[in-house]
């Protein structure tokens, strides 16, 4: 177990380091932030001063080393746009995105397990057709388009839901619904597949032979074993929302970390971009470890 965790940590650390290097150099390659932050009429003196204060007059490599030393001390620097430490808006945004991901994935898990089990119970039956339809939609629907159409119908047309913001429960309905589609279709398929395997297994046949009714067979006997592969997919999809809710957050004006990242890229706010990527990557790392541990708890045969 310990050895496994170590291996996992080292692998993640390598990816993290690659990510830092890539993002830092790519973002510095694109141009001098001085031009962006000072007015065009700024004097050369003001420009030099700005460069010196933010360390932009140093060679790129020494800027990078300075950045890494700061990073090791968990110092992400100041946001150039917001006059606050770069980590602050990131943590605020991340809290929002985390809530969004948790709510969505809780609903997805519940719905997918229910419908997936029902679909597996009668292969080719009504629920199976419904499940196939949703999986197909999940894999085919462009989320930005669905989001726009939802706004046209429910906000502009019917006036039921607000278009953007986070004020009330109503604000959450559309972002959650749009984020729901893709993971729902995917997890549904996994649940269905592994439930079919579980329902064909010897212990389910035994239970059936002993006269156990359908409901306990599905939800007690089969589901427990069928859930193992599902957990991995749930983990992957949660990670996907944590770093991929960019579009939904942008369209619905949701103050999450994805929107913050897009805004910061547009404004060339390097420190915020890097802090956001670090926080997200770290969160996904923790999430993956949790999934692995959960796996080990649920399946006593797995010993890393």
């Amino acid at each position: 177990m310990k050895k496994f965790l170590w291996k996992r940590a080292v692998a993640s650390a390598i990816s993290l380091i690659c990510l830092i290097i890539l993002v830092f150099f790519l973002s510095r390659l694109t141009g001098d932030p001085t031009d962006l932050f000072l007015p065009e009429t700024a004097t050369q003196e003001a420009r030099d001063n700005y460069r010196r204060v933010h360390g932009l007059d140093q060679p790129l490599v020494s800027q990078f080393f300075r950045y890494v030393t700061d990073l090791v001390q968990l110092n992400f620097g100041e946001s150039v746009r917001r006059a606050e430490p770069a980590i602050d808006p990131v943590l605020r945004g991340f809290a929002w995105t985390l809530q969004l991901a948790t709510v969505t994935m809780a609903l997805v898990t519940l719905a997918a397990i229910t419908l997936g089990s029902l679909a597996a119970f009668h292969v080719g039956g009504f629920f199976d057709r419904v499940a196939t339809f949703f999986s197909l939609m999940g894999a085919s629907a462009p989320d930005f388009w669905i989001a726009i159409i939802a706004i046209v119908v429910f906000s502009v047309g019917l006036g039921w839901l607000p278009t953007s913001g986070t004020g009330s429960v109503w604000h959450w309905i559309m972002p959650v619904a749009v984020l729901f589609i893709r993971p729902f279709g995917l997890i549904l398929q996994v649940v269905r597949g592994s439930m079919i395997t579980a329902l064909n297994s010897a212990y389910v046949k035994t239970a059936r032979a002993k006269g156990v009714e359908n409901r306990p067979i599905i939800f007690v006997h089969a589901l427990r074993n069928a859930l193992l592969p599902v957990i991995t997919v749930i983990g992957d999809q949660t990670a996907a929302i944590l770093n991929g809710a960019v579009i939904v957050e942008t369209i619905f004006g949701f103050p999450g970390v994805g929107k913050l990242m897009i805004d910061s890229i547009l404004q060339r706010d390097f420190n915020v971009i890097l802090a956001a990527i670090m926080v997200t990557a770290f969160a996904i790392f923790i999430l993956n470890i949790m999934i692995d541990l959960l796996y080990a708890v649920l399946d006593p045969r797995i010993r890393y």
Partner: protein, 308 residues
């Protein structure tokens, strides 16, 4: 002598593989509709710009946001006009080229590179395998949409850069699949036999391993194609994919966003084009999975016989 005659008779009876495939496709009406639609998209992508470039770019300020379904107009205005009065249907047909170019390019690149690396990892030394697999882990752990967003802000967004970025994020899928398949297939008897008979590594890989693992990869590629179309549209929608005056479907959706309340059709039609394309690809991938799998194919073949 009799035996030989019988043999030729059987061979003559078996239909040509292409005919057989078409017959299987005919049987599955969903897959057939998907294939036909994709063919139309493909033809639009190939010939659309050459034929309709003039029509699609001609502005007509009197026809700004012209509503759809006005059948007294020429056919290319049946889906309405955009904010500059350009006919939407013609623009959708022209935009198919960029959308398809990016998707085809990205899928082919990732398929070729991923498969090559995967086979190297699966068939050569442990060391190479380790390096390649760690590389895949690194790519996998990057948030792919985010990576694309970052890179495209840094590099000028062009069809080529878009293809590169999307291809890189999709490589691990093919890499892992082909490696896993190679690890399994290389232990089979026919590979062992070829090896004993002195076949070179290249021959074994291209003549014996590749044909076995290709069907799986083709199915994945079809699914991936749909995914890439979606990501490309999303990037164009965010304004960091293809830039105007070039057009893609995602960009058209994004341009129509400003007129949502007054002219819904500006965003609706290109979005519909995206969803129909991805839907068709998914349906076709489902069909391919069965059709290309020798163990599963009888399901479709028996259906054919029952029908004919």
């Amino acid at each position: 002598m009799e035996m030989a005659e019988q043999k030729t008779a059987i061979v003559a009876d078996a239909p040509h593989p292409v005919a057989q495939t078409l017959r299987m496709l005919w049987r599955d009406k969903f897959a057939l509709a998907a294939a036909v639609f994709l063919l139309i998209v493909l033809l639009s992508a190939l010939f659309g710009p050459a034929l309709l470039e003039g029509v699609a770019t001609k502005t007509n300020l009197r026809g700004r946001n012209a509503p759809p379904f006005d059948f007294s107009q020429p056919w290319y205005l049946w889906l309405g006009g955009d904010a500059l009065g350009r006919p939407l249907l013609a623009r959708i047909i022209v935009a198919a080229q960029n959308t398809m170019a990016v998707a085809v390019g990205a899928v082919l690149c990732s398929l070729a590179i991923g498969t090559t690396l995967g086979m190297i990892a699966g068939y050569t030394s442990r060391m190479a395998s380790q390096v390649i697999m760690r590389l895949a882990d690194v790519i996998m752990s990057f948030p792919s949409l985010l990576l694309a967003v970052i890179v495209l802000y840094m590099l000028p967004p062009s069809v080529f850069n878009l293809i590169i970025v999307l291809a890189i994020t999709r490589i691990p899928v093919y890499l892992r699949t082909s490696r896993a398949e190679v690890l399994e297939v290389r232990e089979r008897m026919f590979v062992q036999a070829a090896k004993v008979m002195g076949a070179s590594s290249g021959r074994i890989i291209f003549r014996h391993l590749l044909p076995v693992i290709l069907p799986t990869l083709v199915t994945i590629a079809t699914l991936d194609f749909a995914l890439v179309v979606l990501v490309e549209s999303a990037l164009s929608f965010l304004g960091i994919g293809i830039q105007p005056p070039e057009i893609t479907w995602g960009l058209m959706v994004s341009q129509g966003r400003a007129y949502l309340t007054t002219a819904w059709w500006l965003s609706f039609w290109p979005g519909l084009a995206i969803i129909l394309t991805t839907l068709s690809l998914n349906l076709l991938a489902n069909w391919l999975r069965t059709a290309l799998d020798p163990v599963q194919r009888w399901r479709l073949e028996i259906a054919v016989k029952k029908n004919g």
